[in-house]
Each structure stands twice: as C-alpha cells, then as structure tokens.
Amino acid sequence: MELDLVELSRLQFAMTAMYHFLFVPLTLGLSILVAIMETVYVMSNRPIWRQMTKFWGTLFGINFVLGVATGITMEFQFGMNWSYYSHYVGDIFGAPLAVEGLMAFFLEATFVGLFFFGWDKLSKVAHMIVAWLVAIGSNFSALWILIANGWMQNPVGAEFNPDTMRMEMTSFFEVVFNEVAQAKFVHTVSAGYVTASVFVLGVSAWYMLKGRHIELARRSIAVAASFGLASALSVVVLGDESGYSASHTQKMKLAAIEAMWETHDAPAPFTLVGFPDKEARETHYAVEIPWAMGLIGTRSLTKEIPGINDLVEQAEEKVRSGIIAYDALMTIREQRDATPEAVRLSFEEHSADLGFAFLLKRYVDDPREATEAQIAQAAEDTIPGVAPLFWAFRIMVGLGFSFIAVMAYFFFMANFRTMQFPRWALRLAVIIIPTPWLAAELGWFVAEFGRQPWTVDGVLPTALSASHLSVGDLLITLAGFVTFYSVLFVIEMSLMVKYIRKGPYMDVAETDAWMERHEHRLRTHDGKGPFADPSDPRTSGATPAE
C-alpha cells in the first residue's frame, strides 16, 4: 500500500501542476503582448490599438483567473501531500516561494484588478504602467518558482543538519543564482511568450480567414510574429543552455534523455531517433548524428559524457557511502551531547551521499541492514524511465524548431510582403494553436520525470517525501480535483470560444472621431498637438466615446 500512496501522490501532483501550467504560459506571454499593444496605443493614440488591448486583455483575464485559482493548490500541496519533503527542504525551498509572494504575486494580483477596472479611473499613461506592472509581476513570479524548482534539480547552497534532520540553507546567493534555475527561467518564460504569440497569431488568422476584424487581426499578427520569432529563438538557445548545465549537474537525466547506455568516446553522437530498451540496455534502430551530443552537452570535442551503465556504478558507490553517513547519523542522534569526534568527521565526509542511503528505505527499514542485492537494486533505481524521456524530449525539440519556422515565415510576410497571407498559411496558424501547450507540458515532463527517483536530486527520494495519508484520502481528493478541474476547464474553454467568436468591442464613435481628427490634421495645421486625444471634446469637438 505504501507504494500506491506515493504513486497516487505523484499522480495528483503531476495532474494539478500540469493543469496549472495550461494557464501559466499564456499569462506570461499575453501579459507582455497586451502591454506592448497598450504602449503602441499610448504612443500612437490610435483607437484600434486600444481595442486590441481590450480584446486581448479580455482573453488574458479569462485565462489569468484560472492560473491564479489553480496556483492556490500548488502553494499548499507541498504541505498537504509532501509533508516529509516540506520538512526536509522547507528551509531552502520555502524561501523562494515566499519571496515570489512578496515580490511578484502581490504586484501582478494587485494591479490586474486595476487593469480591468481602471480604464475610466486612470490616465492613459498610468493605465499603461499598470499593464506593464502586471506583466512584470507575472514574469517575476516565474523567476522565483523556477529558482525553487531549479534547486530541486541542482541543490546548491545547502547542507544537511543532523540536529534538525533536514537540509538547511548555507547561502541564499547560491540558491538564487543557481545556473540551472537561471537557464530554466529564461527557457520557461520564452516558452510562455511563444505560446501567447502562437495563440494571438492563430486567433488573428482565424479572423482573416473569416474576413472579420481585419485591421485588428493584421496588427496583432505583426506584433505576435515579431515577438514570437524572438521568443522561439530564445527558447531553443536557452534549452541548449539547460542541456549544457545538465551535463554537469544532472548527468543521469541527460543520459536517459539521450538513451546513452554506454559512455562513448568524446565527442559522443546524438541519437536522432531509435527505440530505447531498458531491459536490454540498448537503443534499437538508432539513427545517430556523429559528434552532435558531445558538442551540445560539453561544448568541446574532448570531454566525455558518462553513459547510464557507468552512472549506475557510481550510484552504487554512493549508496555505500550513504550507508556510512546514515550509520554516523544514528550515532550522532543517540549521543547528541557527546558525539565522538571521529563519528562527526565520518558524517561530514559522507553526508553528501546520505540521500542515496534513503533510496534503500523502500526495501529495508534500516539501510545499514541492506543486502548486496538491495544495494544493487537501489543503484538501479536511479535510472528514470528512459523511453518516455527520450521521446518526450524529441517531440518537444521538434516543436520548438517548427515554431521558429512558422514565426519566421509570418514575420517575413508581415514585414516584407504587405501582409498578403495565403490561406493555407492562415489555416496552419489556426491548427497549430494547441501545440505550444503540448511542447510546454512535455518540457515539464522531461524536467520532472527525468528527476526521478528523486524529489531533490541526490538528496531526497520521492518515495520518502510523501505524506503518510491513507490511500482513501488520496482517492477522494484525486477524484475531487479531476471532477472540479474538468468542469472548470469546460467552462473556461466555452468562455474563450464565446469571446473569440464575439470579437473585439468596436467603438465606432471613437474610431470615427479619431479618423476625422486624423484627416483634419493631414489637411490643416491648427497648431494642436498631433497626440491630442480625439475623444477629448476640448481638442476634437467630438462627443466622448463612452
């Protein structure tokens, strides 16, 4: 039953996290696109940009609210379902979550209300600043969450304290400037920008196909394609950076993604496709590109990338070293006030491998009593599921490159071919709307499934991290989340579709007033500033729009 509980807890976490991440990427990207559109409005004063800001802002709002709502679950689920994890690493992991609240979430949530309700209460510039604050808040939020997540992948700036039986922070600076976290942050927000760009591009393309809202659609495509192209390039570059950092921080994950069973002479080839077989420990029908893996992973022609078999051997040594640490820890605990110096020293020497001894807890209560077979099994357990990682990674990368191609095409057509898009291209843009979500979810799958069997790499096994709840508890909440989230998803999608079909709120009076003013300005020079507000009766004489 023990195993079932852990598996159910994992399933629930994966489900709620992946569901949460259906909304997050669009929030990250659309918040910035909306702020860009509003900035253009403030600078050009053209009502069409205001309509665009409001229209995409409405879709942003429908999406944003579910991101916030499902984020509540994430903040508390560590404590609910992963209580030993929370105790064991809360000293480090909790800090970025709290800073996220202080620095980012307060900012975005406080101003998002003003973004929707403040149109008549704020000046144009103030409202634009509010839009940017929402965008900055959302993106800072991602920064701190990825610092927390980066620490699970590469636990720097912390050490184990035997008195408190947990990891404790030794350097906040190292936790924040963790190389894994920094690369992941830019990779993840860029993926969000691509998601929003593909979304804006696709919806606008649909309008063009239907011959509706052409003015809005063209301008939206121009913004989305430029922003999307830059972001799609950034995703791939920073994805490469993540791969490079994995080659020295998470060797096993990298080897599993590449299905690299044996250590290959440098520079290793990259397996383009193949069928990894964990039982036989080989990849059938592999198509390899010589040198590519070595170049990507180590950025050199001489450094080796260790294969899975060698890494398992290393893991076995670490398990043995971990058992020594565990033994010393038990002595320290029993003789708290008078621990012999030799025991302390032995603990310090081996404490980095303590987590590997915990891998044995699945098989034996006291790791010191583990048999040779159990030690070998624990080392074997450090291999994550190779085939799912191998394929998920390849699909994600393939999608990433195709986004560059799509964005480059639309960027070119928008800027150099006067926006005459062929219908097949517009249809393609509509069809690919869901794909960035697929890529983003696969990305998380690779990152987190690839981290198994650990919650914190090399420190705390997943099997030990879960709360000691009953299977019944888990089944109740799991059923609850599935039902509840499914209903919310249907409601959200129906509202999205409804508001996309409805289209932007066209303020005819406002547009006409602006055009009149614009033409007047072209004909005469009456000395009024070119940025005079057309809806302001003092400058245009027209009736105010609302």
């Binding site: 105790h87 039986m165 947990r166 404790e168």
Partner: protein
C-alpha cells in the same frame, strides 16, 4: 553570510512568530471582507443589478487580497517548515475543502458576468456564497482544533504521522468547541463584509448589509465570549517542562511537553496580553454601533480592530505553542523548536522589510484610485470594464 549573527536566533524566532500573526491578520482584514461579502451576496442583493453592485465593490481588489493567503502559505513554508508540513497534511481533507472553495471564488467573480443567462448567474452567486462562507467557517474550525491540540506525532526522523482514521481526520475536526470557534470566525467576517458594504454601497443593499452585519457582530461577541469561558474551564493547555532552550536547533523532539493547566494561565503570566481580547470586544461593540448609526469609514476601521484583537488573542494565549499534539505532547511545535534556520529567518526578514512597505504603498494607492461608492449606474453604465 555573517550578517545574520547580529540578530539572535531567539529574537528572529519571536519576530517571525509575530510576522506570522501579521500575515494571518492581514489576510483576515483584506480577504476577510471579500469572504464576508461573498457569504452575504445572496442575502443583501435581491436582483441581478444589486448583486453586481455587491460583486463590483470587491471586483478590482479581491485578487490582491487573496495574495495574503498565498503569501501566508509561502511564509509558513519558509519560516516554519514543520508547521507547514504537519498542519496542511494533518488537516488534509479540510484543506482540500478550503482550496476547492477558494478556487471557486475567483472563478465566480470573473466568469459570472460573462454570460447573461439568469441560471448561469444564480449558480455563480451560490458558488460565491460557498467560496466566502466555507473558508470563513473552516479557518475558525482549524483554529479551534489548534487550541484543542491535534492528533499527530513525529517519528525519530521527524516524519509527521497522523493518528486516527478518516473519522479522526475530517469529521473529528468538528468538535463542538471547534464549531464554536468556526462560528466566531464566520460571524466576525460577516460583520467585516457588512462594514465594507456600508462604505462602498448605498440604498437597499447598504441597509440590508447593515442589518445582517449588526446581528453578525452580536453573534461574534457572544460566541467569542463563550469560547473564552470554554477555554477557561473545559480545555487543558500545554506546558514546556524544564529549561526552555530558545536558540537551540529546530527539533521538536528535543524538548519535553506536558498537557495540563489552562491556556488562560498566560493571562496571569503576561497580564498585558489582555489588551487583545479587549480590542476584540471593543472593536465589535464600536463596529456594531457604527453599523446601526450608518457610519462608514470608522465602522470598517473598528471592525478591523476587532479582527486584529480576536486573532492576536489566540496567538498570544498559546505562545510559545504553535501546534500542540494531543497524542504525543513532546511532538508539539513551539516557537523555539519549529522555525527555519537562523540564516533563512534572517534572509526572509530582510526580504519582508524590503517588500512589505512597497506592497502596502501600492495597495494603498490602488484603494485610493478606487475610492468611492459603487452605484447601480456604475454597473449598468459601462458594461465592459465591470463584472
């Protein structure tokens, strides 16, 4: 990092205990009126326009207010990891109910106005009612259970274990005393929501809110007094045995705790803490008077004072206990043995000192921009920037 040595571990623990209180009170003062308004919604608004007025009084601010809850969770995780680990897993199903209610609420605010159908809107009105009333009640129930003690123990590895079956973990929370504290919490937040509506609305909505708020205030005062009496005569407190080590490692098992004596003994040891319940009762009395007389700004401020006093009284009464255990008192979490490390507490304090003033400043600015009553003309006039 040597800087953190300048503030002693003991001092940092007390400061973070106080900040935990500040966050909970901040949550109750801001999101509290959102919950109160949600729970009042079907009763103070009798038609769609009235209900939209009610919803739009909190429409622009609930998102920011809710962050107090999220930040509370994050801060407990960062500053009191064992508390975060034990309480949320120990109250597992109750937490799930709270989360479901709190998820329902934002969705309700945002989606209600997106369709014109009356059934759609009525459905969301009841969702908002549940989203406001259920957490308001359950938070009080949780506080009652903390005062009663919770059936958990820590293993030698400090792994939290929960004793009791489904009954013990969920229905067991519904001890009569906990239900009483739940009513204190619910009625207090109903009063607070009514005070908010008094400030932000006019006409029939305001009159109904003031009437319900008056009753809620009286109920809050009576149940709060009853809970105090029950605590004095019916519930044992907890005590740390022997020397209290205030700057030792955060390991609850290092200290010995027994059950016995009264929680209210704290008031003889530290008589000054009586200020908290006095604030609670005085705040309620003045808020109720304000609701009767129709005072607007001052009523909300008195209501805030009442909530501050009531929540502070729980923390001050229990100090230094945070989460006592009934089945293994030694596992009880106290201020001295369940905090983060010295360094983490220091870093987080620096972060809080930098960002809290900024947050308060821009939040105040947002409230200033939104100052003024929400009228029926407001919600019927420009339909695209209101709920």
């Amino acid at each position: 990092m040597i800087l953190h040595e300048f503030l002693s571990f003991e001092l940092l623990r007390v400061v973070w205990w106080a900040l935990l209180g500040v966050l909970l009170i901040g949550f109750a003062l801001t999101d509290g009126f959102d919950m109160g308004v949600g729970a009042l919604l079907p009763f103070v608004g009798h038609n769609d326009v009235e209900r939209r007025v009610v919803i739009n009084t909190i429409g622009p601010v609930w998102e920011g207010n809710q962050v107090w809850f999220i930040l509370g969770g994050g801060a407990i995780f960062a500053a009191w990891p064992p508390l975060y680990a034990v309480s949320f897993s120990g109250f597992y199903l109750a937490m799930f109910a709270v989360l479901a209610a709190l998820i329902l609420r934002p969705v309700g605010f945002k989606y209600r106005s997106k369709r014109d159908s009356q059934r759609w809107r009525n459905g969301w009105d009841w969702a908002l009612f549940v989203g406001g009333a259920a957490p308001a009640l359950l938070f009080g129930v949780a506080v009652g259970n903390v005062l009663l003690g919770v059936p958990f123990h820590l293993t030698e590895d400090l792994m939290p274990m929960y004793d009791g079956t489904f009954y013990g973990k969920f229905l067991g929370l519904l001890h009569p005393f906990a239900i009483l504290t739940g009513v204190v919490s619910l009625s207090m937040l109903l009063m607070h929501g009514a005070a908010w509506l008094t400030l932000k609305t006019e006409g029939m909505v305001q009159i109904r809110a003031r009437n319900i708020g008056t009753i809620a205030g009286i109920v809050a005062a009576v149940t709060y007094a009853l809970a105090g009496v029950w605590l004095a005569f019916g519930i044992d407190g907890f005590q740390i045995v022997g020397e209290v080590v205030k700057d030792g490692p955060s390991n609850p098992l290092h200290s010995e705790v027994t059950r016995g004596g009264s929680w209210l003994a704290a008031y003889t040891a530290r008589p000054w803490i009586a200020i908290a319940p006095i604030m609670g009762f005085a705040g309620i009395a003045l808020a109720v008077r304000g609701l009767r007389e129709g005072f607007e700004v001052s009523t909300l401020l008195w209501s805030k004072l009442a909530i501050t006093g009531i929540i502070a009284s729980v923390g001050l009464t229990m100090f230094p206990f945070i989460l006592p255990s009934t089945v293994d008192p030694n596992s009880s979490l106290t201020v001295w043995d369940s905090s983060s490390s010295h360094l983490t507490l220091f870093v987080m304090l620096v972060m809080a000192l930098i960002f809290m003033p900024i947050i308060l400043a821009y939040t105040a600015w947002v409230y200033k921009v939104l100052w003024g009553k929400v009228t029926e003309e407001d919600v019927t006039g420009h339909s695209d920037s209101v709920y």
